[in-house]
Subunit: 332 residues, 4 copies
C-alpha cells in the first residue's frame, strides 16, 4: 500500500513527538526532519531513519516529500506554512493557526492559492472526552445551549519557559475557544477579558473572560499558568455545556493515576500522548493517524481549516479586551 | 448556665432547620416560632416545645425573647430585621443581608441606632473547606492574590421553585461574592456580567462574570441553576485562589458518597446540614452554635455585619452589568 | 442548666482534642486533666482552666468529677477503665475497647458490676458519611447484604511513630470491623487474614482479610500503613456495601481540598476534627457532644458498649489468622 | 508495504470491534469474518468488505489468510485455537486463554507443536494507566512489593446476560490476576477466596480473595458484578501497589466525563474502546495495532503467551478455594 512521505519542521516538544509517531506509523514514512538547531535534527534523524535539515527550503526540496508537520512557535507559522503551501505540500500545522488574525488569513489564502490541503493540530477533536461532549451536545440531545465553560490551567514554570515567545491565549487558550464554538455549534460574537501579570515570567499569569455567542448562550473562560509547580499533573482542564434539555461535562482534576513517594504524590498523562510499550499513544497519535489516513484516502479532515481559522479573531478580541478593559466585538 | 432565649421567624427550608438546631442546643432555648402560615408554626412549635405565632409583632412581644433568627425571603428582610432591631433583639439574619444595597444599608442603620447585635448567616464562614482555604490564603502564605474563581451551580427545579421571588445573585451568589472578598483580603471594584434566561423558570438560568479587585487580582464567577435535575447531589461548588507564592482550592464534584440503585447513582450531603443520629450536624449547626455562644459571651462574631454588607453593592453591580452589557463600577 | 463535670486521662493526640472540645462545650465543664507527663497536664490544664494531675487516682479523687474520657494506649485501657468504673464515673473510652478480647470483657464486667455508663469512641458512628451509608443499608432499602468492603490506609511514619505499642488491627482496624458489623446488621463468623512486615517499623505494614458473615455476605478488609509519606492527606478510607436491592458507598481519595506550592499538593481534613474559627469541629466534636448530652439526659448512647465489644473477638481472630495462615472462627 | 491478512472468529461485543479495528488499520486487511450466526457474519462482512463464514474450517481454508482473532466464549477457545494453530495461522486469542488450566495447556502445546505465534488479548498491557503503574513498580523505583490490590466491579445485568456461560474469575478476573503477577514481578503461590451467589443470575455475584506471592507480598482481589445497574459507567476498576520505596495506584471512579439529564448522571468510556470520529480508539485499538505490527515485523509481543498462561492456574485455585472454603496452593 501507499505510504505518505512526510517531514517534520520544528523538533521541540511537539515536533519530536510528531516525528516519532510518523516513524511508527505503518502508512507513513518519515523522510526528513528539520530544525534551526541542526544537531537536534541530526540526532532525531539518526534515531528515526530520516534525513536531517537545518533549513526549510532544503527539506521542501526533497522531491518525494508529500506532506509536512509544522511544529514551530506561532510567530513562525506564517512564513513556513506559506513556503510549504507554495512547494505543493500537504500541511499539518500545529495550533494555533497563527499568532494573529491577519497572519492566519494570509496562510489560508496561500493554501487556497496553491490548492494544497491543510489541517490544524486541534488535538481536542481527537480527545475521547471532548469528542463525546461534542456528540452529547448535538441539538436534538442538548436542546439550545444556555451556558458553557472551559478551563485550562497550568503551572508557572511553563510561563517562564515560554517567556514572551507566546501568549496564554494563542499558546493554550486556542484549544478551548475552538472547542467552544465547535461544541456550541455557534460563534462567539463579543468578549470581555481581564488578564494579570504579577509573576514576572514575561508572560501573562492568568486571563478570565465572559463570552457572548451568536445563539444567545454565554461562555466563561478560565486560563492560568500561575499555579505553583506542585499542581497535580502540572495542568488541569475542564469543559461543560448546559442546554435546555441536557448537559455534558468533563473535568480532569487528575487522570486517576498516582505515583507516591515520601515527598508527595504526582500524577500521569493517560490521554494526550502517553508513552506505552515504546510508542506514543493517545490523542496526539490518533490525530496524526487521522491526518495520514485522510490525506492518503483523499477524505475530508474532521475539522476544515476555515473552522480552525474561526478561533483566531476571537483570540484577537480577547487580547484587545484584556488590554483595554472594554467589551470587544469579534471582528471576522 | 445561662441559655439564649431565641425565636425563629420564617419556617421554610432554613427556618425549620434553625428551629431544630436551637431546640437541640444546650445553651439555647427555642421559645417561639413564627410563620405567616400559622399551621406550620403550630406544627413546628408543638414538635419542639415552642410557642407558635403568625405575626412577627406577637413573637417580638415575648418579654423573655433575647434573639431571633430571620429566615425569610430576601425581599422581606428589611421590614422584619428593622422591627426586630427596634424591639431590642439580637439578630441572626439569613443571607443575603437584603435584596439590594439600599435595603441593606437601612437594616444596618436600624441595627446601629438600636444598638443591637447582628450576625449574617454566611455559612461558608463555618464550612471547614472554605475556612481552610481562607487560612491558606493569608498573605504570608499565599503572597499576593493573582486570580480567584468561585463556582456555584444547581439544578433547574430550584429556579422553578423560587420562580421570580429571588435572583441567582442574591439567593445563591452572595455566598461566593462574600467569600471572594474575604479570602482575597480585597474588595471587588468593577465587574462585567452576562446572564441568560431561556428555561422560562421566572428566574435567571445562569450568570457569568469577570471581576476586578482593588489589589489587582482578577475574579471569575460561575453561577447556574440551569443543570438538569439529574446532576449528582443537585449542586456543585468550587473555589480557588492562586497567589504569587502558593495556591489553595476546593472542588466538590461530589462528597465521596454514593447511593446506587438500578436507575442511577445519587449523592448525599456530608458538610452543610446532614442529619446524623437524629440531630442536624455540619456547617449550619456550627454557625448557629457560634451565634449562640458568642452572643451569650459577648464576643465578636467571626464576621462583622459591615463585612457582609460589603457584598451587596457588588451584587447590585453584577445585576446592572448583566442587564446593560456594560462594565460597571461597584458603588459603595 | 446542668453541666457535666468531666476529666480527661491521657493528653496525646486524642486526649488533647477531647480536652479542648469539652472546654468549649456549653454543657460540659472540664475540671481535670491527667497525664503521666505532668508538665503536659499542667500546660493543658493552664490553657483550659482545669486542674492538672499525674495520677489517675488523684483525678478520680475529685468529688465533683462525674465523667472521664480515657485517651490512653490500648494496653492501658483495662487498668484505667476498671479504676474509673470502680470510682463510679461515667466513661468515654477511646477505641479500641481494649487490646484483646479478655481485657475487653473484664472492662465490661467491671462497668456492669459498678453500674456505671460506658461509651466507646467509635467516631464513625458520628461521621456523616458512614452514618448515611448505614442508613442506606437498612434491609428495607438494601435487601440482603451480598458483599461489603472497608479500606483504611495510612502512611509509614504513623507505623514508625507507634512502633510496637499497638497493632494495625487494634489501632486502626477496629473502626471498620465495628462499622462492617453495624452496617451489615450481621456478625463476622470467620476470617482469613494475611499480614506483611517488611519496613521494620516495629509494626505491621499491611493486612488483608476476607470475612464471612453470619448472614452469608462476604467481607474484604484492606489495611495498610505502608504508604510513603507523600500520600495525599496521609490517609485514605473507603467503605461500600452491595445488597440484593441497592448499594451504598463512600470513598475518600481526598476531601476536595488542595493546598499547592512549588513542591507539591497536599490535602486537608474537613470531616474528622478540623479546626475552624478557633474550635474543633467535625465528627469528633459531634461524638463528644453526643456523650455529654446523652449522659446528662440519661439517654442511650448511639452505640451500646456490648456492640463495640463485638468487634474485639473479630480482631483477635484476624490476628490469629494472620499469624497462623489458617482460616479462623471468631470466638465469642 | 505488506499488510496482514486477517480474519475474526466470533462476532459478539469484542469480535465486532476487532473486525472494525482491522478494517480501519492501514497494515491489516480484514478478509474474512466467521460466526455460528451466519446472518451476523454476512452483515459485518458486507459492512467491512470481508467474506462471511459460518464455520471456522471454511474461514481457515482461505489460502491467503495469515492471522485470526478468536473472540469466542472461553469454553470454545480450546477447540478453535487448536484448529487455527494446526492450520498454521498466527493467533490473537481474546482473554482468558481458556476456561481452565488443562485446556490452556493444550492450547499452548498445539501452538508450540505447530510453531505458530500466539498473543493473548490482555488489554491492560496496552492501557496507559496500567502500563504506567507497571513501569512505576520497577524494582529500582518501587523497592520490594509489600501489598497490592485489584478491584474490578460491574453491574448485575452483565451477570444476567452471561448467565452460566462464564464465571466472574475467567470472564473478568483474569485481567487483574495477570496484571498483579506482571506488576509485582512475582507469581501468586496460594489463595483464599470466598464467593456469594444470591441474585440468581446463574453466575457468581462477587468474589473476594487474599493472595500470597512468592516474593512475600500479599494481594487482595475484589470482584463483583452485583452492583445495581445504575452504577456510574456500569463498572469500576482500581489497582495499587505499595513497595518499600514508593507506591503507584490507579482508581477510576469515573473517567471525568458526565452526561446529565433530568433523570440522572451517566458516564462514558474514554480509555478502553471509545468510538471517536467514526473509528474505535483506545486501548483495544492499541492492542490490535501492536498485534498487527509486531506480527508483520516478526517482533516479540509485549506479553509472551507463557506469561498469560501463568494466570490460569491461579484462577483454578481461586475457584477451588471459593468452593471449598480452604486455603489453596496454586498448582502449576
Amino acid at each position: 500500500m501507499k505510504t505518505l512521505k512526510i517531514g517534520v519542521i520544528g523538533l521541540g516538544f511537539f515536533g519530536g513527538r510528531h516525528a516519532r509517531i510518523y516513524a511508527d506509523h505503518p502508512a507513513a514514512e518519515l523522510i526528513g526532519v528539520c530544525d534551526a538547531d541542526f544537531s537536534r535534527a541530526e540526532e532525531i534523524g539518526a534515531a528515526l531513519g530520516a534525513e536531517a535539515f537545518a533549513s526549510v527550503e532544503d527539506l521542501l526540496a526533497m522531491p518525494e516529500l508529500q506532506a509536512v508537520s509544522i511544529c514551530l512557535p506561532d510567530r513562525l507559522h506564517e512564513e513556513v506554512a506559506i513556503a510549504c503551501a507554495r512547494a505543493g505540500k500537504t500541511i499539518l500545522l500545529e495550533k494555533p493557526l497563527a499568532h494573529n488574525g491577519e497572519a492566519a488569513r494570509r496562510i489560508v489564502e496561500a493554501v487556497e492559492a496553491a490548492n494544497v490541503r491543510l489541517m490544524i493540530g486541534h488535538i481536542l477533536r481527537h480527545d475521547p472526552r471532548y469528542v463525546q461532549v461534542y456528540e452529547a451536545a448535538a441539538p436534538e440531545l442538548l436542546g439550545n445551549p444556555i451556558h458553557l465553560r472551559a478551563k485550562r490551567n497550568g503551572i508557572r514554570s511553563t510561563a517562564r519557559r515560554l517567556g514572551s515567545s507566546s501568549s496564554i491565549l494563542f499558546y493554550m487558550g486556542v484549544h478551548d475557544v475552538d472547542a467552544m464554538q465547535w461544541v456550541a455549534r455557534s460563534r462567539i460574537s463579543s468578549v470581555y477579558a481581564r488578564k494579570v501579570e504579577m509573576l514576572g515570567t514575561g508572560n501573562e499569569d492568568a486571563l478570565y473572560a465572559v463570552l457572548n455567542f451568536e445563539n444567545g448562550a454565554i461562555g466563561n473562560l478560565d486560563y492560568s499558568w500561575a499555579w505553583p509547580d506542585g499542581m497535580m499533573n502540572g495542568f488541569r482542564s475542564a469543559f461543560e455545556i448546559v442546554g435546555t434539555k441536557t448537559a455534558a461535562a468533563m473535568d480532569v482534576t487528575d487522570q486517576g493515576l498516582y505515583f507516591v513517594n515520601d515527598g508527595g504524590t504526582v500524577g500521569g498523562d493517560t490521554h494526550l500522548w502517553p508513552e506505552i510499550n515504546g510508542r506514543i499513544a493517545g490523542a496526539l497519535a490518533d490525530e496524526l493517524n487521522h491526518f495520514v489516513q485522510a490525506t492518503l484516502a483523499g477524505r475530508d479532515y474532521v475539522q476544515h481549516y476555515r473552522e480552525a481559522l474561526d478561533a483566531i479573531p476571537v483570540l484577537d478580541a480577547l487580547a484587545l479586551s484584556a488590554q483595554t478593559g472594554k467589551v470587544v466585538e469579534v471582528n471576522r
